[in-house]
């Protein structure tokens, strides 16, 4: 940095230089005087021999580094001038780089915002969740991440690894404002919950420990969105009383917009002692809660897991029973991992894709620069012979690439700005915390800048080094576009094209595989037709008026009758879940059967119209009848998978099945055995990817527990019927809240297709850009080669070569380049696509069809890109070509 200081302390340097030169003069005068000259004459002579003092100073100044800055400016101007001369080249290069930089910046900002800055919580990197993982069940399904309150208290008291721990659970809150009842998503959180996340409220206060004491005044907090939509942001509602779940509570605080802790609209304090006063938890049906904890500084996830494991195993020994799996271990995950989870893999796959894209862009520009350098060989040789050092020439060429990269950086940021908006629009909502703001931040722009500098080095250095290699003087004598120079650069240029093709193949195979996978996913045979199917989740009234089986039957019986009568509805049914996405499951007992592993089945509580509404086919026995429903008989219709898994070749009809989970559920027959009366066809009951599970369909009238769903097959667009369905429900009881509703088809798209679609669109766009870049790359190289070979082709044609020969010669050359690139790309892809496996379903990572399609696309693109240069070559007039020389 010495030169920098000198630049700004020029006067000091100048003084030093003056002093040195003055010393020289004085010494000379002294010597003259010593040899007998008088003082005046000596001075005159000394100055005379010295020559122009100012000129010497200037020469000295120029010999120093600070002038490198001036040199740099001169290089900069020179670069601008020479790029302006070749505008088409400059435009293509800037465009290619801008696409690369823009795409990289978009992906980086998505990842930066989602992975590094997703939530505004304090120390969120140290926030963890933990779960008991059942080691006996396969997959990661088994186990639980919710805890009873005694478990929570034990963990809170006994752990050595947490700084703080919050317990919370979600529940529906019915809000009655005197005119009607509405349902909001509410959350109970221990009173430290808000200090834990460290986000201050915008109005009022957060919970204090007093709010959780038994007998404390009832309070609650509200999120920003609810405050805006329901209360128009009126600050006066702070301190007002609201009737929530039939109890009056005071609003004490409103949280800011960027806060979605505990995923609720309303928050209530969770007291940890049993009681019935609203602050304490109910004794009869105690909640199980979810825990969020902050690790002490320096404690690893593994250490925390080990500590918790000991505690929970202690609890399991003290309370043997169904509460704990036979074998389990405690696993800890960061909050980020828990929320973003697998989506990170999608993001990293895309980041890898854009880096490939950037490399392709660099290869492209590097190639263009090389082509340019070849044309400029003469200019470079002239400059070298005029005394420019190699370093100086390299620097000058690098400045030129830097000018390109800088322009591309600006254009790239513009691309990124637009691209980001597009990407955010298609990003699936699930895996991203609501608080995440995705946009261009200073960190992201800095990243773009770093990428631009890197790009300069990657695409500029090789051509620059190449340009000044070898004997520069000798090249003066060549014409500069002779065959010698051409072939010297030729190998590097071909290498770059091959690399580009190979990189692009990787991108395209990735996109191809995802496309295949997406196609497979959207064409999974569901076993039922989700077209024109409506669902409405119905949350019964808060006061428990429908909590018995009889009352529930009464309510839904009426609703069903009204819904069925609506014009446009073909059939309708009650169910517990919306197929194919969710369902309830239970361990089962079949009398007379012995087996070592536990048997499981899903179950649904439905009315007689269920099988018809889904369009399942009856294979044996009979369907649920109206009498089954009306009298709540213990009968079951099972699916094929159930019959196959647990009855094998036996006849299942007449067999009995017990659903163990019912013993734990209130208002549901305990210790009850259901007789199998029929077998129906399978349908996808665990989503699109998981294999389907055994399932039983039971009369809904047996249980008074939980919320239900109304499913209806319609003749018209199901969404157009939603208001009527809602109206019918309210006609039966205005206190019943409609929780969520829509068409099954839309739900399926949102839940199952959105994520792979996002990956597909993003990687597809990147692959498309990559392909376009390769097209430009092959075209420019072939066009350039033809230009260089004009003379040779002229000679060939003069010697009798046909136009067809020339055409095939050029095409063949292009095809050879591409083939090598394709080969390298396919081999590399075969090794790399397995990293994409987590993003794929229903298609192997080395799917031969995809690879074949990609290869064909590339050969076609290569031929297409070589065609124009080839036809130009074939159109060369030998007379003109030879005279031209």
């Amino acid at each position: 940095m010495g030169w920098l200081r000198r630049l700004f302390h020029k006067s000091l340097t100048e003084k030093r230089m003056d002093a040195e030169l003055r010393f020289h003069l004085e010494q000379r005068v002294r010597d003259y005087v010593a040899s007998g000259m008088n003082q005046e004459e000596a001075q005159r002579r000394a100055l005379l021999t010295f020559g122009g003092l100012e000129q010497v100073k200037q020469d000295c100044r120029e010999a120093r580094t600070e002038n490198h800055v001036e040199d740099f400016l001169r290089d900069f101007q020179y670069a601008l001038r020479s790029l302006a001369k070749d505008r088409r080249f400059a435009l293509i290069a800037v465009l290619a780089l801008a696409l690369g930089i823009g795409a990289t910046t978009v992906m980086f900002s998505v990842i930066y915002n989602i992975v590094f800055d997703p939530v505004p919580y304090r120390d969120f990197q140290r926030s963890v969740v933990f779960e008991m993982r059942d080691l006996t069940s396969t997959g990661d399904k088994g186990g639980r991440d919710h805890y009873t309150i005694p478990e929570f208290l034990a963990i809170r008291e006994q752990n050595h690894v947490f700084e703080d721990i919050v317990g919370n659970y979600q529940l529906d809150i019915l809000y009655a404002d005197g005119k009607g009842t509405r349902r909001f998503l509410g959350g109970y959180a221990t009173t430290n919950g808000f200090d834990f996340l460290g986000v201050p409220p915008i109005l009022g206060r957060v919970f204090s420990p007093e709010d959780g004491r038994p007998g404390a005044p009832l309070v609650f907090m509200m999120n920003y969105r609810l405050w805006q939509t329901e209360f128009h942001g009126d600050p006066k509602i702070l301190g007002a009383n609201f009737f929530l779940n039939a109890k009056a509570r005071t609003l004490i605080g409103i949280m800011p917009q960027r806060f979605n802790g505990y995923g609720s609209s309303l928050w209530l304090p969770l007291g940890l002692s049993p009681g019935s006063d609203g602050t304490s938890f109910p004794v009869k049906d105690p909640p199980i809660i979810w825990a969020l904890a902050r690790l002490k500084k320096g404690v690893s996830l593994q250490a925390a897991a080990a500590d918790l494991d000991a505690i929970v195993h202690g609890l399991a020994q003290a309370n043997p029973g169904e509460l704990y799996p036979q074998q389990f271990k405690v696993v800890t995950r960061t909050l980020l991992d828990f929320v973003v989870g697998d989506f990170q893999n999608t993001l990293y796959a895309l980041l890898a894709a854009v880096f490939l894209l950037l490399l392709i862009a660099c290869g492209n520009v590097g190639n263009l620069l090389l082509a340019r350098a070849t044309v400029r060989e003469r200019e470079i040789a002239v400059r070298a012979s005029l005394g420019a050092s190699r370093g100086r020439l390299i620097r000058q060429l690098l400045v030129e690439s830097f000018v390109l990269a800088a322009a591309a950086c600006v254009a790239g940021c513009l691309f990124a700005y637009v691209g980001l908006k597009g990407l955010v629009a298609i990003i699936p909502p699930g895996p991203i915390p609501e608080e995440t703001v995705i946009g261009l931040s200073p960190a992201v722009l800095l990243f773009a800048l770093v990428i631009a500098v890197l790009t300069t080095l990657i695409c500029g250095l090789a051509p620059a080094l190449h340009a000044v290699r070898g004997n520069l003087q000798l090249r003066m004598t060549n014409s500069g576009k002779g065959a010698g120079g051409g072939s010297r650069h030729g190998r590097l240029r071909s290498g770059l094209v091959i690399a580009e093709v190979a990189l692009s193949i990787m991108l395209l195979t990735g996109a191809g595989l995802m496309m295949r996978s997406f196609f497979t996913l959207t064409h999974v045979d569901l076993g039922f037709n989700p077209e024109r199917m409506l669902y409405t989740r119905v949350a019964p009234a808060a006061d428990g008026r429908y909590d018995t089986a009889v009352k529930k039957k009464l309510f839904f019986g009426q609703v069903l009758q009204r819904v069925k009568a609506l014009p446009g509805v073909i059939t309708a049914t009650v169910s517990l879940s919306v197929p194919p996405l969710w369902g309830a499951g239970s361990f089962i007992t079949v009398p007379g059967k012995t087996h070592s592993e536990r048997w499981e089945s899903m179950f649904d509580l439905c009315s007689d119209g269920y099988i018809q509404t889904l369009g399942l086919r009856l294979l044996r026995g009979r369907l649920l009848s109206e009498t089954d429903i009306d009298s709540g008989r213990h009968v079951a219709v099972i699916n094929q998978a159930f019959a196959r898994a647990y009855f094998g070749s036996e006849n299942p009809l007449g067999q009995k099945v017990k659903f163990n989970a019912f013993d734990e559920i209130p208002e549901t027959p305990h210790d009850a055995y259901f007789e199998v009366v029929g077998i129906v066809t399978d349908f996808r009951n665990r989503g699109l990817i998981e294999p389907l599970s055994p399932e039983a369909f039971l009369p809904y009238s047996i249980s008074g527990f939980g919320h239900r769903v109304i499913l209806a097959k319609t003749a018209v667009d199901p969404k157009s019927l939603l208001p009527s369905v809602q109206r019918e429900i309210w006609t039966v009881d205005s206190n019943a809240a409609v929780a969520s509703s829509g068409s099954v088809k839309d739900l399926l798209a949102e839940e199952s297709y959105a994520r792979p679609q996002f990956g597909l669109i993003a990687i597809g766009a990147f692959a498309g850009v990559g392909l376009a870049l390769v097209l430009i790359g092959i075209f420019s190289v072939m066009a350039y080669t033809v230009a260089l070979q004009t003379h040779e082709i002229g000679v060939r044609m003069a010697l009798g070569a046909q136009r067809g020969n020339v055409l095939t010669m050029v095409l063949w050359k292009g095809l050879r380049l591409i083939s090598v690139g394709v080969l390298v790309g396919v081999l590399t892809s075969l090794g790399l696509t397995r990293f994409l496996a987590s993003q794929l379903s229903g298609v192997s990572a080395t799917d031969p069809l995809t690879f074949l399609a990609v290869v064909i696309v590339f050969l076609a693109v290569g031929l297409f890109a070589s065609l124009l240069p080839a036809s130009r070559a074939a159109g060369i007039d030998p007379l003109v070509a030879l005279r031209y020389e």
Binding site: R16, A19, E20, L21, F23, H24, E26, Q27, R28, T49, F50, G51, G52, Q55, V56, D59, C60, R61, E62, A63, R64, T65
Partner: protein, 111 residues
């Protein structure tokens, strides 16, 4: 009293400077005198070439400079060789010997 003096051959000035500086730290004036003396007044080094050369060599890392007192008590800038400078001197000397041999050879053959 005026002798015929030749300007140092282009391209060899750097080598001569490095060679003289190699004897020990020396300031610019003394350097010019030494070159003149050693070449028995054959070469004269004009200041207009000497100082830019010194600055260039310093900047390139072949010379390092330090302000010190002369015997007469004046402050002067003393140059000395760096490791890179020593290396460059030896390669330039080898090159020069080869060149002059080659030139001599040609001159002799033409005779």
């Amino acid at each position: 009293m005026e002798q015929e003096k030749t300007e140092v051959l282009k391209g060899t000035l750097d080598m001569l400077i490095l060679k003289v500086v190699a004897f020990g730290p020396i300031h610019g004036y003394a350097l010019s005198q030494r070159i003149q003396q050693i070449s028995r007044d054959f070469f004269q080094v004009p200041e207009g070439s000497l100082y830019p050369a010194l600055y260039r060599l310093e900047d390139g890392g072949w010379l390092q400079a330090k302000w010190e007192e002369t015997e007469t008590g004046r402050e002067a800038k003393f140059y000395s060789l760096t490791r890179a400078g020593r290396k460059r001197l030896s390669t330039e000397m080898v090159n020069w010997e080869r060149l002059s041999e080659a030139v001599a050879l040609i001159l002799r053959t033409v005779e």
